[in-house]
Amino acid sequence: MVDKTMNRRVELPQLDRVGKVSAIQFTLWIVVGAIIISSIYNVSPSPQRVAEGVPRLGSLMNRMFPPETDPEFLGRVFWRLVETMQIAIAGTVLGVLISLPIGWLSARGIAPLKATTFLFKALISFFRTVPDLIWALIFVITVGLGAVAGTMTIMVDTIGFCGRFFGEAMEDADKEPQEALEAIGASKFSILCGAVIPDAMPSLINTTLFALEKAVRSSVVLGLVGAGGIGQELKSSFDLFQYKKAAAIMLAIFLIVLIMEWVTDRLRRSIT
């Protein structure tokens, strides 16, 4: 081996640049490509139209700035925020607690039962597909209007979201330590707790804090069940054309989102 390649030009097999692609796959790619391109083509705005519109944005900005600073208003916004945070935290935590087992049961290769993973994936999708309004109806019927129903709605939203991303994070966790624990006969649950969760942790944290942020922002969900929240406040400022108030609320929300972004970052960094 040593000297054989040093000075001779070996006749090496020329490999294909792309792997084997079946005729069906090829057609499929073409079709998908065509759909995407035609979709984009249908909706590209004419640049001239855009150019005309841009200056008009100024007037919108004018009506938004400076944001409202009336202390009484800001005080109300603050309490709304606190209230929203409470509901959001409770709903997200409960949702995450339920998402963990459901996500696990839906994760291919990690779940204890192989046959039912798609079933659980479908269940999670179902949670997402049923619109918030229906969930709102259900919770208002069972627990009545208010913060409790709001928490439940957020919980359901969280399950639909976290269930999917938790499942994905578990599927993508490093396979080798799992194999090692499997080799010594650890149960699927022990593998989950011993190997999968530690590896998926940064992703779980990211998803959870995103869900929390989403819950804080979510205007529709809480408004539906009469739980108000900051989102509702924002929506009604818009509906009443009080843009300066809306701007103030948006800034407050943005601040909270930034703080949560920072927390996510810190938490993830501390365990990576």
Partner: protein, 258 residues
Amino acid sequence: TDVEGLEQLEQEFGAVEAALEKSTGLEMDLIPVSSRTAAVEAMNAGQVNFVLTGPAEYVVMKELTDAQIVVAWQRPDYFGQIVVLADGDISTAQDLKGKIVSFGSVGSTSQQLGPAQALADLGLKYGTDYDAQIIKRNVAIEALIRGDISAIGMNFGHLQKAREAYPEVAFKVVARGPDLPNDILVASADVDADVLAKVKKAFVEDGAAIMEAVLKGEDNDKYAGGFFLGSVDDADYDYVRSMYSTIGVDGFSGFVGD
């Protein structure tokens, strides 16, 4: 107006579009918008020329842009009302003192402004004499049945639909406002006077034909018996302006009544 109604209208609007194009000779595009804010801004930015809208939005539009009224579209039985359960313990509006009343959508003429004004006319002050909440109609009805809230502000059409959907529940109206000012077709300031006139003429003269087209859609019965009115006065909407102050929106007090 209730924007949702417009949306529904659009589903079966092909016929209307055709009728309008035929009688004006102009090409039209109909776009349903679910947000009154977006509709107003679109008009404001000159991206649309005509907006079919309700009284409350008109008031704002008039304030923000120099919108011109083309025609008014009278909807029969268009008024706000306060609905309660027939077998509940609320029998008059006065019983609502200290109770929770829900309204369907902030800034909606027939779902918030109108009903709130009806209560105000009966001496109940918005937000102080009763607790006003904004809750979507579907949810509010369930909450009403459950007893979480005592009354819902909605318009007549909504109540009819609700009665169909909840045949086993008996509803009762405890307050009712006067017929609301008409829905209007508004044109933006930069529409040619020429085009404006054409459209106006089409509505006034071929009103019957257009209305017939509207009624082709099965869900548009609510417009049955409606008329297009060619002469509308901005002052007709002062009643709406006063509603804004009723619900405590200070932002509009500046032009209420001027």
